[in-house]
């Protein structure tokens, strides 16, 4: 045990005395995580989408559609000319531009009860923002439907269009020979428009001032439901999503894996020099020497992750919901890093060759883990595939015990997977080292 502790102690002293390695492993992940955290953090407008509005329809309906869009809290709408809107989207200053053409309101009202041509709203969007386009389309649909239907049931345009529709149906009915009989669908439409006309003749009631139909008041159509938005966490007082939490997880994992590479390279350099043989000439087994190196690497990795998250908590408001869960994940990841380092040392032929391959492997592991971009943006098959990537579990585990607000039981599967991978890596390394010694 004295020898094992001495070997671990030696590695800890060596790591702490190497200021460059410390800087690489501690300061860089914090700086980069702070950058990514600030980039992906919700902005002061609560993440509102920048939209340009080109309102060419000057009718009441057009103005009400514009006002409705501006009242959406999820949108940040600015009136623009067509040319300015195009430029703003091209430059990425606005994600979407909505062009409401002249006469849109009336054309839409007409199209509501007939199978004729539908008017088009032109949407110009930044090609990198397809998800945003879908969101804007949804909100635009809601606004147009409520405004146009309100106009149809209560506005002067609606009365005029209803009157015109009834007149056309009457003309069609008179033109049909009595022997042929009237089309029952025309009769049904006539009855409905007549009912609408009666509704329109009722005294007008209070509007909400924004032209949006209110059930039972303006008579316009509205969404048949509302939503109550609630960020789901497991704790009543959890602070919810924090972009820094994910960034600290990702960068912590990445740079600690770099430290793992250095562990492996260090062993290869020791084997090249006389140090490795000198250690093995002592009354210690190969397994003791290797496991001591693994223990020191795991301790260093654990310490680094704790230090990185301490800065995250104190400076960037990262919330650790379960300290036990975090410690479990950090210990598991420490052992995983140690196993990764041993694997590099066992299968790397030379320090130079091993460094290149290990860097590539690390970047792939980090990329697939969701450390750079969250794994939920991956295609479904990639999300499934990355379940075999150990770092994915580390990131998911850290996310679980930080911004998701979950506890140890949620982190347990991730801890288990990390430990299994760590054991497999270490067993492989021990087998390879032992084989070479023979």
């Amino acid at each position: 045990m004295t020898a094992f502790i001495a070997l671990v102690r030696k590695d800890l002293i060596l790591f702490l005395s190497d200021r460059r390695a410390l800087l690489m492993s501690l300061l860089l992940p914090i700086v980069i995580a702070a950058f990514f955290g600030s980039v992906f953090a919700p902005d002061s407008r609560g993440g509102a989408i920048d939209v340009a509005l080109v309102l060419q329809d000057t009718s009441d309906a057009g103005r009400k559609i514009g006002a409705g869009l501006k009242s959406e809290s999820s949108l940040h709408v600015r009136d623009m000319t067509l040319m300015d809107a195009e430029q703003a989207v091209r430059k990425g200053e606005r994600k979407v531009a909505i062009v409401v053409p002249p006469g849109f309101g009336e054309a839409a009202g007409t199209a509501l009860f007939s199978a004729g041509a539908k008017p088009a709203i032109r949407l110009m969007y930044d090609p990198s923002q397809t998800a945003v386009l879908a969101m804007v389309k949804g909100m635009l649909t809601q606004q147009v439907m409520s405004t146009v239907s309100a106009e149809m049931f209560g506005g002067p345009m609606g009365r005029r269009l209803t009157e015109r529709g009834l007149h056309q149906l009457d003309v069609q009915a008179r033109a049909v020979p009595a022997t042929a009989g009237a089309d029952p669908r025309d009769q049904a439409l006539h009855d409905m428009l007549a009912s609408v006309q009666k509704f329109q003749a009722l005294p007008a009631q209070a509007d909400d001032g924004q032209g949006r139909g209110r059930p039972g008041t303006s008579g316009g159509m509205s969404m048949p439901f509302t939503t109550h938005d609630e960020g789901l966490t497991d704790q009543a007082q959890a602070q919810g999503y924090n972009a820094y939490a994910h960034a600290f997880s990702g960068m912590g994992v990445q740079f600690i894996l770099f430290m793992g590479i250095n562990t492996g390279i260090g062993i290869l350099l020791a084997r090249r020099s006389g140090v490795w043989n000198r250690l093995l000439a002592a009354p210690v087994s190969l397994a003791q020497v290797i496991l001591a190196r693994a223990a020191s690497a795991a301790l260093i990795a654990f310490g680094l992750l704790c230090a990185i998250f301490t800065v995250g908590v104190l400076v960037f408001g990262v919330h650790v919901a379960s300290v036990a869960g975090f410690v479990g994940i950090a210990l598991g990841f420490g052992l995983l890093t140690a196993g990764f380092g041993l694997l590099i040392a066992a299968f790397g032929k030379t320090p130079e060759a091993a460094r290149g391959i290990a860097m590539f492997a690390t970047l792939v592991l980090v990329m697939l883990s969701g450390a750079w971009v969250p794994s939920f943006v991956f295609p479904p098959w990639v999300q499934q595939l990355t379940l075999v990537v150990p770092t994915r579990w580390a990131i998911d585990g850290l996310d679980a015990v930080t911004w998701r607000g979950l506890g140890l039981e949620a982190a347990a599967p991730a801890i288990g997977v990390e430990l299994v991978f760590a054991l497999v890596f270490m067993a492989l390394a021990l087998w390879k080292f032992g084989r070479e010694q023979r």
Partner: protein
Amino acid sequence: MSSVLLSVNQLVKSYGARRAVDGVSFKVLAGQTVGLLGPNGAGKSTIVAMLCGLLRPDAGEVFLGGAPVTVGAAAVKRRIGVVPQDLALYEDLSARENLRLFGALYGLKGRALDARIGHVLGQVNLLDRAGDKPLTFSGGMKRRLNIASALMHDPELLVLDEPTVGVDPQSRNAIFDTLQALQAQGRALIYTSHYMEEVERLADHIVIIDHGKVLADDSPAALYRRLNAQAALRIELAEAAPASLVDALAGQHGVTALQATGLTLEIRLREPGDALPVMGWLQQAGCRPLHFATARTSLEEVFLNLTGRTLRD
């Protein structure tokens, strides 16, 4: 008579088709210094690795005090100190921390460890640099610290694999002083080198190795006796010696070979002690030597005699 401390029996080790060590056997007595002499690539380091339990032999055995030396033989390893050819030091740990590590590997701890660190640093004259990192040491100081780390557990047998590689003459002398002090304490040493003068200076028994095989295994005196000439005498005369005198000189006792070139006589002698009678005979024969020099035959010549090539070929 001293007891046998280390016994090496028919060691064989191959790397692929190449046989690096081919049936090597020798013994080391308690308190004896054995020099393993051979050119680079002769197999010395491979033998050392097997002696120290770092490498499994393909065949053969090594015994230390009757106990087999194997890769996992922890008890036996405690009795051996290893000074590898490459520096086995952590350059970023202080000299004291390096020794603390190597002492702890052999189970030393607490005050005993601290006391031993001080003692060993004193042995290699590095006590005043205990807190400094090897990074700041000269090559010779690093080599001495390398030796110190092997002495931490006070081993019965110290195995030194070319411990003076890359060291300046002054530092080499300092290392020899340390090793001679260890010899004086009665510690057994195995010293490998391809520098014959180092082995001549230290060893009281020499094993000459080439191509993985033992060519000779004897004391230096016995090795020299294998040669028909153990000394040389070079004389510069005032005037050229007549042919009759040269013929008569060749027949003198102790003279094994003779070459006369102009005013110079190169005489090979059976033993160094034959030089004085030869000089006296020349004086009686009327020769007037202007200048003369004697030299002892070196291990280089022994090696040349055994292999037909020099050590550095």
